[in-house]
Symmetry: C2
Subunit: 394 residues, 2 copies
């Protein structure tokens, strides 16, 4: 007697999540040190010591009724102000606390945006490969997901196909930069070109098209790659952020959405998004961790840690003959399956206790994703196992 | 260009929340000590010292990658087990960790249940007066809210009207015990009678009708009142809980839902609810606070604190001539407005810096709600102001 809409999910549960459960099972069977689990974006870098100190200081200094109590549904004003000030300093923007809503992670922030904007039957465009949960989020509001085909040369935005797919029914477009699962970064030129198309189509169709930029990996960019702040290129942009990756807090569910004053009907949109945050049942982002991240706005990600992993894994796998997209951001490596059906490849890898996610879990068969947010030692120890796997395809 | 469904919310924003904002404004203007804000269920009792110790111990003892990392979408198994064991010890139930899903508070837990169960057009019954957000939660899934009329004699469940309102389209029924906003407690006899009607109607209609029991005030019962554990009386029951009130953690958004094995298709239902928790964007309940509440399952609410407030406010207001429902549970006092339109009464009270919530915010005009989860001193200091207010009606 469960709801009809939930039934397909039961049949087709998240492959990433099932892999996570399988990883735990294998770890129990063979010992965690002998399992090479590249399946989940659960950072292996511990949260910065500064965060722990911040939590303890808050518990010692601030009235617990405030620390653990209700606040405005958008979050503590001083937390939003600290984050707005930090964004302004880094990107030359002019946000105030009124432009930010603290949310239960980026997943919840995206749901807040979609609930605020999408009418049943309206289209939301995503670029394959993409985080498959976007589809569930869009269906939550009876929106229609429209996929742009991948550019399998570069895995950059396929703007030619995007232009085709944009229709009168398009209400929103989701991008993710730096990109999960491919590790690519969209540069300024790409964002400018995307914005031009959006402006043109807004004009042609006579209504707003919203760009939702999902940026939990914002600080994870390598080799000098820079991640453009999208509100500067296109007015109807909402930026979604999470501290899951930058502060290694995925379980804490803490993030925010930025809704600039330049967004159409911004006051109503911000008010509606704040209400959406409340009536979704979240009410507000968790309070203690809100206060803690505000004290860590300038904490830096240990980029060197991920960069060493990135280079080691990319070079190691390339040397073994695998074809990989060279990652510039996030902590994912996107690898072309040596056989057509990547599920077979993923299955073969399990013989060596290697866990990877099949590309079809990102609407892009023929590839696999490796999350290299694991320990360096794990990567070093995994490479000989990958060598055995490569031999099967020699 | 916001979604059509969101537009009514913009016009009709939560009165309780607006009052919260107004309370902050008045406090800034007159000083917080001179504002008598009885509008919001934000407990004034600080979280127990044990909770703070638990958080600090966890930060010192447990690997931060575990503390702040992803876990199963249902929550840490050991946390669910600790809570299940505690429930079993208290209520003679036989839950395992598989019967519990940790959620982002009770609001999120109710949304998880409704998303799991409700098809568009199906009916969900609530008993007036009720927490108006239930309506938003039901509309989130295109369900139809059906209100049972209040029993204005006792404010107990109006089972005669309930029987009338139960229809072939009824998918779920929400009760809240102890009750917000009236402070009444439904006793065993009442729950038995409710269960009998549900069983009869299930049989008559040939499909499951789910009882969702929202119990954030479970531990707040006075004068020896006991709160029945509803799963023992009716199989298709889901119990929704929050630590907001019992541990004074409303801002932390931590709660759970219990889905017993006795629920129809329980394995599928539990799996679907776990997925609903994920795809709502919450993913999982906040991790650190999950671990912390598991160490505080036997922490006791400072009942004496609320009881003194309850008696002082009830006796004080009754002596002034106001008609109140004597509260047996939660931390609310339900008062009959001395004039027909309770909004006028609420307005007059503001002259004395007294903030209360009009009954129509709970679908029950003619009454007001006072949340007495404030300091005792606030109540003592407020009574002379209430006396001035009473004089206006002499």
């Amino acid at each position: 007697m469960i709801a009809e809409k939930m039934k397909p999910y039961l049949k087709n549960n998240s492959a990433i999540r099932m892999m996570f459960e399988e990883g735990k099972r294998l770890a129990a069977q063979y010992g965690p040190e002998n399992v090479y689990d590249f399946s989940l974006g659960n950072p292996n870098v511990p949260a910065p010591a500064k965060l722990k100190d911040a939590i303890v200081d808050i518990l010692n200094e601030v009235d617990p009724v405030v620390v653990h109590g209700y606040m405005s549904n958008a979050g503590f004003p001083e937390v939003r102000k600290a984050i707005a000030d930090n964004l302004n300093a880094r990107y030359g923007t002019a946000f105030t606390e009124n432009n930010l809503i603290m949310t239960v992670g980026a997943g919840s922030a995206l749901n807040v945006c979609l609930k605020t904007l999408v009418n049943p039957g309206e289209e939301v465009i995503v670029f394959a490969p993409y985080f498959l949960e976007y589809g569930a989020y869009v269906r939550n509001y009876d929106g229609v997901l429209v996929e742009v085909a991948p550019d399998t040369e570069t895995f950059q935005l396929n703007l030619a196909d995007f232009k085709e797919k944009l229709s009168e029914k398009t209400k929103a477009v989701i991008i993710n930069n730096p990109h999960n699962p491919t590790g690519v970064v969209y540069n300024e030129e790409t964002i400018r070109a995307l914005a031009e198309i959006l402006k043109e189509k807004q004009e042609a169709y006579g209504h707003a098209i919203y760009l939702l930029s999902d940026e939990p990996y914002r600080e994870l960019a390598f080799d000098g790659a820079t991640v453009p702040f999208v509100t500067k290129y296109y007015d109807n942009t909402m930026v979604v952020y999470s501290y899951s990756k930058s502060l290694s807090l995925p379980g804490e569910r803490i993030g925010y959405v930025v809704i600039p004053d330049e967004v159409e009907d911004s006051a109503d949109t911000i008010a509606a998004a704040t209400i959406a945050n409340r009536i979704s049942g979240c009410v507000n982002a968790p309070s203690l961790i809100q206060l803690a991240v505000a004290r860590c706005v300038d904490a830096e990600v240990d980029l060197g840690y991920y960069d060493r992993n990135r280079r080691t894994l990319y070079e190691g796998l390339t040397k073994l003959g695998f074809t990989c997209v060279k990652p510039e951001g996030a902590f994912y490596l996107w690898l072309k399956s040596p056989e057509e059906d990547e599920r077979q490849f993923v299955e073969k890898a399990k013989k060596y206790n290697i866990l990877m996610v099949p590309g079809r879990s990102f609407a892009c068969p023929g590839y696999v994703r490796l999350a290299y947010c694991v320990s360096y030692e794990k990567i070093v120890k995994a490479l000989p196992e990958f060598a055995k796997l490569a031999k099967e395809y020699a």
